[in-house]
Symmetry: C2
Subunit: 348 residues, 2 copies
Amino acid sequence: MADSLNERSQNILEAIVEDYISSAEPVGSRAISRKHNFNLSPASVRNVMADLEEMGLLCSPHTSAGRIPTGKGFQYYIDTLLEVRDLNRNEKQNLRNSYRFQNMRMEDIMQEVGRVLSGLSQYTGLVMAPKFISTIFRQIEFVRLSQGRLLVIYVSETGLVQNKVIEADPTITTHDLEKISNYLNSELNGLTIHEVRAKLNQELQNDRVLYDKLKKQALSLSCAALQDEIEDQLYVSGASLMLGQPEFSTPEQMKRLIQTFESKKILIDLLDQGQSAQGVQIFIGSESSHVDLEGCSLITSNFSNQKGAIGSLGVIGPVRMNYSQVVPIVDFTAQLVSRVLDREIEEK
Amino acid sequence: MADSLNERSQNILEAIVEDYISSAEPVGSRAISRKHNFNLSPASVRNVMADLEEMGLLCSPHTSAGRIPTGKGFQYYIDTLLEVRDLNRNEKQNLRNSYRFQNMRMEDIMQEVGRVLSGLSQYTGLVMAPKFISTIFRQIEFVRLSQGRLLVIYVSETGLVQNKVIEADPTITTHDLEKISNYLNSELNGLTIHEVRAKLNQELQNDRVLYDKLKKQALSLSCAALQDEIEDQLYVSGASLMLGQPEFSTPEQMKRLIQTFESKKILIDLLDQGQSAQGVQIFIGSESSHVDLEGCSLITSNFSNQKGAIGSLGVIGPVRMNYSQVVPIVDFTAQLVSRVLDREIEEK
DNA sequence: TATTAGCACTCGTCTCTATTGAGTGCTAAC
DNA sequence: GTTAGCACTCAATAGAGACGAGTGCTAATA
């Protein structure tokens, strides 16, 4: 239905959205008729604006103010009017140079990406590391802590290191542990955690295994080590940049925003939702979707390596965000990170 | 000089500080003379207040407001008037129960401590993990990533896992790596990183070593792995709680505070300064000390295990903080964490 | 001599009012 | 269909006046 806008209405909507993006203030008919040369008087523009308001694409804070796009208006702008140009060769190179990935740990890469995204966009950068469950087994090591407590160190194909403390038979010797890790490293190499779990369960059900004490220990240890879900890692950079935006200028809004960022849960859920999609996604926060993200927009894209580990990155800013500038940055960064992850893996 | 206050002046100063702590508003002479039964008229109280103002312990925002303690006034209160009672048995037990340290990784413990400190105090919790340099070598492992790039995993005595990517001779085999890590694990076990570095440097200068290719590789790898300083880990919890405090109620103050928390550097420096001291320390932020921490007070204590790894924890809140409540919490938590760290180490 | 009652004074806060100006909707003319 | 004109709305701003909490000073009191 909204697609039935005629060209003039589209042009005016576009002008209003873009003026609003750069000024953060309600846009009046006079400003539109003057700055953009549509050769239309303010009165004509007003007529169109009234129509757009009727359709729910614009609203006015009060009678004597100009108009601002509604969430629906922004949605229409993004779906229909926004033209995302690709970065040119130069811009790509600049972006590439912004990131320094040499000899960085996975965590550092994630953090660096967040920082750069935030710095370039001047909004808040988000990066969610690939989930533990989607990683591929590379190596496992055991370190004895106190009596009966073991530190398990797990390394994924991409060099992501996770560790965990588990309880274990206190009589187990260091030598046994070494044998166990050697066994597991050769058996499980190259499998996803998903596959690893399936294999472990299968073998545990296999009765014959029980006669081999060492193997039994190996299985129960690795079960303990790999069974739990490890909570998602979300890196938030440049939260304070959001506080400079006029839409979050009151103390209450600031407080709510910082709380939302601090709890991370809402952001993780949102990024999770987008994990199945391809390419750049835009989420516009409104009262209807998530009350804590009212007034925020999220531009995200997933990155992944060839082995299927999927993470997400993006930028969160006010709904009044400069989409045409940020979308290509997010897009290209996701491609860049995907390539970097693949490079982490040894070419065999 | 400030110690030359007579008893009445001390009582009045104490009353003012405590009233101000609970109300966050300037305290007037009438309120003091009524609520506390000094048997003094407001006029007499006013005389004393004028003296205290002269000495720089109080100030008034404007002529017709009450008075508030200056930084110096708070300092005097803390040094001379504040009585910190020990927690009783019950309170200690409650505090102990607030923390759940079972089978937690070092990182989780640090994070949990920050969360609980923040929750109990209703201010912002800070925890700085023991520095890499102060940890004791336990184990090192190498994982091959791509050509010529190695992931080094280092585990300290307390189960702290650090990892790092280094460049290495691409021709080195997995088998060699295993021998190298075995060699290093037996040679370096129980040394501090400091001692490890000294030992490595010494051996590298020893010419004879150069004939043993494997040993040479082991030394150069471990040098690369352990030489850099690893940046301090600071956990900040409950930053948004500070935004509820009236002293940070304006957008500018909020923004500055969040920026300060986000950069972490200033906080780390401050905690570093206190690392040599014993017991609870209180830092009062004023324009003179650190402009970004104006209006903030920091209550910290160090924790350490018997092997000398030192970390810091504490609470940051407004200068108008409830010291008598928070100081014992910080103190006891530091003791608790110290004991937990020791328990992490295998009893041999 | 220390204390206190009394009083004039200060100054931030709140409320009410008037003014301004940007922007609208409607109507009539083009 | 477009536009000029005009009355209208309403947020923002500024100023005036009342209010009140609190002070400093002085003179009286114990």
